[in-house]
């Protein structure tokens, strides 16, 4: 089904990487994506606004990195209304836990690069309740070699088991730091198959799940205020309004 299209919600495009937004869009489009979220780290202060280029969507986002779990909620609240996708870069178990317990967080990434797996059944339950998606970081499988890739695959396998058991929303991302790190959706799916993910699950992780995350953070067409919404009778007026947004 081509309707929701393929999304990658964790792409970085900082000035330091030497890439322009145009290059990233050109490559992502060539690879078959219909939208990417540019999630630059919060300390770079480079937030790219949401935009749409004839059918290709750029979704504004931020990747929050902090070592202090108690500060995380404050930072999330700061960005929640400014961007469409709030991504938390995990690490220690306390950060991961704070992230999955906060419904304002959309996606938790980078939590299994460490030697021990930072995800367990307690976090899985919390993530499922708060609908915080966890990301399978396939960039690790692409870039690592040898023992560390074995470790990453093992962690992904374990996490997949928890995801299935507790019905945690998940996303497959290439964690691109530049356009060289992007991979086509089909290739991402076959990398996910290496740790036992079925083709249907992989497609859901690339299409419907990221799409639902993006939609829930965007006000509906004709939104005025909490509980107040313009309802159009004909489709023309609705589409005009979309362009204004």
């Amino acid at each position: 089904m081509a309707d929701p299209g393929y999304y990658d919600l964790n792409v970085r495009c900082t000035q330091e990487s030497g890439n322009t937004i145009g290059e990233i869009i050109a490559v992502a489009r060539r690879l078959g994506y219909s939208g990417i979220a540019i999630t630059n780290p919060d300390n770079t202060k480079q937030i790219v606004p949401s935009a749409s280029f004839d059918g290709f969507e750029i979704i504004s986002g931020v990747e929050i990195r902090t070592d202090n779990a108690s500060k995380l909620h404050g930072i999330v609240n700061k960005y929640r209304d400014r961007v469409d996708i709030v991504v938390v870069s995990g690490g220690s178990e306390s950060i991961n836990r704070a992230a999955v317990e906060n419904p304002g967080v959309d996606l938790l990434v980078n939590f299994n690069i460490a030697q021990e797996n930072g995800f367990n059944q307690v976090l899985a339950k919390a993530a499922s309740e708060n609908r915080v998606a966890i990301s399978f970081d396939l960039g690790d499988l692409i870039h690592l070699r040898g023992g560390s890739r074995v470790q990453a695959l093992t962690n992904c396998r374990k996490n997949l088991q928890l995801v299935r058991k507790y019905d945690v929303p998940f996303h497959l991302s290439s964690n691109a730091r530049s356009w060289f790190d992007l991979r086509a959706p089909r290739e991402i799916a076959s990398l996910a198959a290496l740790f036992g993910m079925s083709a249907e699950e992989a497609v859901a992780g690339l299409t419907t799940i990221p799409h639902s995350i993006v939609i829930r953070n965007r006000p509906p067409v004709g939104y005025i205020n909490e509980g107040v919404q313009l309802v159009y009778k004909d489709a023309d007026a609705g589409s005009m309004n979309e362009e204004d947004c």
């Binding site: 290059e23 490559v27 060539r30 690879l31 692409i142 040898g146 890739r149 992007l182 991979r183 076959s190």
Partner: protein, 124 residues
């Protein structure tokens, strides 16, 4: 030598690929990288089961032959290639076909060499 009867021949698939990079890369280097990536990801046993081979490669476009039930693994192998002799690349599978002719005609003929630098201005 007598030809193998069709029922005994190895079944194959042909993957039409394009290499996206800033500078062109040579065929020999792509082959070397392909086998080293397969060896690292699947090991010797897995690589031999894939029966990988790079057929024609020209103008950043090529055809990879593999066993018919290993296309998924071969895609993963191609995805895990990050650079070819120091040049960063993306290997993009354009399509899979049962014959070389099919792969070439359907997916490679008429496809321009993709260069992100040239394409980027359209989106800005």
């Amino acid at each position: 030598m007598k030809l193998l009867p069709p029922t005994l021949r190895a079944r194959t698939r042909y993957l039409a690929i394009e290499v996206i990079s800033q500078d062109p890369v040579r065929r020999e280097d792509v082959i070397r990288e392909l086998f080293s990536s397969a060896g690292s990801l699947l090991g010797d046993v897995g690589s031999s089961e894939c029966a990988l081979r790079l057929l024609a490669y020209e103008d950043s476009k090529g055809v990879v032959r593999c066993s018919h039930d290993r296309t998924g693994n071969v895609r993963a192998v191609l995805a895990s290639i990050t650079e070819v002799k120091g040049t960063k690349v993306i290997i993009h599978v354009l399509g899979v076909s049962g014959t070389v002719m099919g792969a070439t005609k359907k997916y490679l003929a008429g496809v321009d060499v993709f260069n992100p630098k040239e394409q980027s201005h359209i989106n800005e």
